[in-house]
Symmetry: D2
Subunit: 454 residues, 4 copies
């Protein structure tokens, strides 16, 4: 795409392109109240499939001349793209999966702006859970009449070839067993399982296989959705994204990853450790190739030390066994179905799980907030999990998010203070992440965005 | 269905049955703020297909023991029906079209309650038009990628066999030409065109033919949707229902009818006579069998006398010529498409038409309001059309709606005052409606609900 | 369509239009060995939907200038029609259902010529049954994975309004219960059940309702398929058509009719009376409106007298009860399914029924053959049924088929000789047919094509 | 699958499982005239997806206890498999794609036996071309209403990782451009392009992507279809398989391979060099990764030496450029469409190409026949191409086919005699194949099955 080229006009896919004049007006407004910048940023991420960096600020700078505008047309709505990244096109035509994702972005930005903000009490647990539900429902993600089969896969975007191939193999084995896959929709462990499942679904003639990607405006630029994702949802922020994962999951598989993956694990443990949730089945397997055995041991040690043996019982670690993992997940689905059936719970949304407000509330990763985290065991393990989750969330921001990178540049690394024992384990864990190149895509030059203080 | 029988449990059709817990709670509440009574009433109407009366109060009294409850189930939502009318069932199984309509009712009641009320400024023209748009969009009625082909058909529910067969034949000829049909979804002229179109669609192998029915809680009991309707929408009130008709129509056909049909015609003329709307094509044909020639002459005379020659130019009267009507409508579609294409208007919603607030505002048919209507020509013809519309709206209420019937019983007939010339024509028109049995289904015993005062 | 108009070119519907060059060549040949005349005749019948006569010779004479040619095109095959009947078109475009039927005709003519003739031993029972199977399979009529639900409806094309409305109502009640309908695909009792079922299927949202019409080149001109028929099959001759009906039927309903209907009933009784078939369930109901009660009594008396009480036990007569008929058929389906399941029989083709060669062998209705029929009870009842079937078959030919009409014109009425008692009942039955106008569409002037001799 | 296990019963996929009793009987017969052995062998190949050998004899020996039987069931046909290979199953359930292929095998074996053998003059060019057409049509491969987009990909089953990845990338780039893929349906270059295209189709939301595999009973065991193949066709023999490839192809891509690939190239050149075919566009590209540049040079030299410069002009060699190859193919499709459109040729079958009877006639690779081949330039280049094709065909047989391996074991290597210059080039080419491990999957121990004699 030549920078001086005419804007590319794109017509929508799917049926959600019927906008009211008011909605169109709002999207067009570039000013404060408008949604234009969020739309632009998410649209760029979707188009930027060929990206080899995960530095949001760099990506935005590279594509400063990219813009997106909405045209109300005789037969619906069109998007006009100025200077879109070339990789989204084949011989001048946009890849259809990307086109669908572009309009999914539009759908969610419109919906959040016009139907969520101001309509739900986002300061309450129930209001937030309800808002998450409505966004997912509007996106068509919640479907009745299907047995539980959705496996949420977490893991790093910056993983090596061997780990990547392993995630593909697990996805393949899950797909052979009719499982669908949901990830954060970026590269690495977010892409591999979908690719494997897609091949398996082709062999099993599963024509309506679901490859759900759940993102949010802050992270999406660093984790461009891969075009296999055929259901893309943009949640308003990281915490609602995490809640969405947990409530749609019928089972969860965690592959090797970095601080983002640790954040996800701690968010989940923070929920599952609540006494009210103990009886609810949430099958959870941590898995990777034999070469990742050490990695999982480090994680496991950290969890044991910080949160106790109880926390360790909530998951199973399986190394080098894709068919075994898939078989176990498949079997666990029956228990999930049985439980929900007995309790008359919906299959498509796990209403029953109770979340603390502390987990749900968006965490703003400033130096002040990071320094104030309570990283010690003089509190409920469950509360420690909440603050550890926030710590890792801050590290993700410092690594790849726009505001985080700016804050680090301005004020130096975040300071994390805590009980010596916790700090020691944290140091071991983060050190391993750095050593194994899990922090950033361009790992060679990783400059830590944190400093640990015992 | 035995009155002592267990409630019948019904599972939903379609994909809109994913409700949040809050929505379910709200539906369950029978108290003031809840929507239970509206749901019960609309559900009854949908089930009551075999009804031979149009007296809402009588129907509600007959089925006082009917109730509907919502069960949140493991795999979605179910309805539990106590004492449902037997005609909705075949060998104990509910007819599937009725089942779909039942859940369409649920969908709209939920949506209006949770997403419309309080979210739109229903006191403004734009806010109302926007609300109508959102309800239709949520119901899936607005579809892109289709050329204009939706013919709104208006006409009486209480018409004779010859007129009914004629509406079928027109529907058949429309269907042969690929037209879809939208009506008020009751009996008579609301059913005939759909039946005819359905047979024609079968011959033309149109598998996705649309038979759209638009109703509202006040009228639905008197006009039970026929099960051919495969897209049922419940609007909040009569005025929004009329606006919905006008905005989705690509052309309008009016068959013989009574006061309801007159209301519809006047609503439409009230819009089309506005100077701002003059250039917008809204093809309009009044048609019936040769035996109805007199009827249309009476209507035409009344319009000419009350609203002037200009108003008469907005429609064409065609008698006894179904292929001719269908051919004309088909041709007019090209002009509609061309106009919208030129003006970059949506094909699925006629945003461009401007409505007066007076037309949009719900009219509450009390004796006081009826007596206060300005039925004289010392005003813009267009304003007279507005008040004439209200007059007919009140007569519909007095004939078949619950509150109207009660008001008449308590206080005697409505009094309509006006300029002698207008009253004379009104008298002629209403007299003809009574004489031709167009007022009520059980026409033999019709007792006028009005008194004209010059 | 103007007689001097250019040929109308028609592109195919469906997927069977891939012809080899050899097949195209053969269809083009007009000479003896070619299939052109059969194609022309069947195509004319399909297009001739508006026909009000059932005199094949008259129809062919009226449309002597009609012709059909095959064009091999870049993307398949096209038909070029010279002077097609106007009723097949709406605003110059052929009704799509008719277009499908046109290519169904092409498909069967090609298949019978290239894959049946010479490939099957049509002189043997098994070879013939196999040929019937292959033609139906090639036409896509045999489908696995469906529970028995196909009701073959027989009855006259020349019936009155009351009887016609009754056949519609029965079709409607069958359709409400998910039954599909198969008929001889002409007017009257062949059209009514399909029309009723189509409306019921619309209400039940049965989108893949089947309206199967089975015809043959000799009769099709007199019984133009109605366009609702969405699976049209042309069998090589009347006997294979009758075998096709019997083998695909899961149940059979017989409405009032004339000699053709009598032929069908006798063909069926001839099969069901065979001892080998006695245990096989073939639900059979004779039904009509109350006004047709006498008609069925006459039939019943005739069967009792000619074939004995055993034959009468093979059917049930139900008068004026469409829901009852439909309910009984629906219930009988369970027995049919159970029987076939137990015996590992296919659901889609009743292989188990044994036919006599005498029933299968095409009957050539010449004066000589008609006079030689053995119409007496000095033989097995079952053999008498066979010759009675032939007698009625001859009368059908004399009434409406080209060769039959010619033979009668040349040599006077057919002579039927038989035992006095049989002749007496036959006289009563045929007299009733004449009196009730069941012989021909233009009944006023019916001139019997037979003479009975005791 | 335990060897003593009960037979596994498999129900069919798709709609071709309606068999007549006669067809079932024939399939059951194990004797000479029956088709049981062919069915058993093809079924084994389909199930044997995990196979790591290409030695047909070895595979058959390993699975000597495998058997397949046909059960005529209440709702169609089932297959009973005794001792099927375990890799076809996931957690005890057969992979659905394999199940489909199993019934495709059944369909073709039945069709060839009952509708081809004896019905076509297989000794004539036209009769054979017609038979190929009928088999493909019966398999549903010939589809109208689609623009040319089918790319036949040839290449070796025994190729290295780098070449395999390259075939995937080309398939991916073709798939991004909406191309469908047809191969010989085994491993290596027959699998890679399909896998790549499947991922690309997922991204482009092409839900009906076609992955056509064409095999024949002699080769299928050595080249087990991969389960991505969603249209499997079994042709009667190698020559009809090659004709099928050429007639359905809209373009052809040749990847590196061994003697089989050489056979395919020579078959195609033998056709394209005929003067009658010179004007017909058959886009042909030879391509591989940069590491395969030498390979193509050797091929190119051989063609130039043996068949002349004219032959070399019929193809283009492109090295290391998947997007370029795909772009060129995509562009060439327009020329193909234009040509066929101009000449009113079908898009789905290239009738226009003329084949010599010598190319079509099955070649029986005995020592006598191999020794008698005319490998010299004292004849038309086109005739030399025919005998060279036979030479390579014989080498394929000697390498992997049952009869060929037996013949070599009994009588030693085939002897190929020819003009010194031809033999020299042949020696170079075959030597390169051996050196590069292209002869057999277990290349380490390759023992040549030929001896060249100048």
């Amino acid at each position: 795409m030549d920078a001086n080229a005419q804007p590319v006009e794109v017509t929508p896919e799917g049926s959600l392109e019927v906008l009211s004049q008011q909605e169109v007006d709002r999207l067009r407004r570039v000013d404060e109240g408008g949604q234009h910048e969020i739309l632009r940023r998410c649209a760029l991420a979707v188009l930027n499939v060929g990206s080899r960096t995960d530095d949001t600020r760099e990506i935005l700078a590279q594509h400063a001349d990219f813009d997106v505008n909405i045209l109300q047309q005789d037969r619906g709505v069109k998007l006009a793209l100025a200077n879109p990244p070339a990789d989204a096109f084949v011989d001048g035509k946009m890849i259809r999966g990307i086109r669908e994702q572009l309009f999914a972005v539009l759908r969610d930005v419109v919906y959040i702006d016009s139907e969520v903000t101001g309509h739900f009490d986002l300061d309450s647990v129930d209001g937030t859970t309800n808002a998450v539900f409505h966004i997912l429902r509007n996106a068509g993600v919640l479907r009745v009449g299907r047995d539980p089969n959705l496996v949420v896969c977490w893991g790093g975007h910056a993983i090596g070839r061997r780990e990547y191939d392993y995630t593909k193999e697990v996805g393949y084995q899950l797909g052979l067993r009719g499982m669908d896959v949901c990830t954060g929709c970026g590269a690495g462990a977010m892409k591999g399982p979908m690719k494997g499942a897609a091949i398996a679904h082709a062999k099993q003639r599963v024509r309506n296989g679901r490859y759900i990607g759940i993102s949010e405006p802050g992270i999406i630029a660093a984790e461009s959705p891969n075009p296999i994702v055929n259901e893309l949802v943009i949640m308003p922020d990281m915490e609602k994204r995490l809640e969405a994962f947990v409530r749609v999951a019928h089972a969860i598989v965690i592959f090797p990853g970095g601080v983002g993956t640790a954040e996800e694990l701690l968010f989940l443990l923070g929920i599952m450790m609540k006494p009210e949730n103990r009886a609810i089945p949430v099958p959870l397997i941590l898995t990777g190739p034999p070469s990742s055995a050490d990695y999982f041991e480090t994680i496991d040690r950290f969890v044991g030390a910080a949160l106790g043996e109880d926390a360790r019982r909530l998951y199973r670690i399986a190394v080098g066994d894709p068919p075994g993992v898939a078989h176990a997940i498949r079997s666990a689905m029956d228990a999930v179905r049985e439980f929900r059936y007995q309790h008359q719970d919906a299959y498509y949304y796990n209403w029953r799980l109770q979340l603390d407000r502390d987990l749900q509330a968006p965490f703003d990763a400033t130096h002040e907030h990071m320094a104030a985290l309570q990283l010690h065991r003089q509190q409920d393990a469950h509360d420690l999990a909440v603050d550890l989750r926030r710590a890792f969330s801050g590290l993700v921001a410092g690594n790849v998010k726009e505001h985080g990178i700016q804050a680090i540049e301005a004020h130096g690394p975040f300071e994390l203070r805590g009980e010596p024992e916790i700090v020691r384990h944290l140091d071991e864990l983060l050190g391993a992440f750095v050593a194994q190149g899990r922090m950033r895509l361009a790992a060679a030059s990783y400059e830590p965005c944190y400093r640990l203080v015992a």
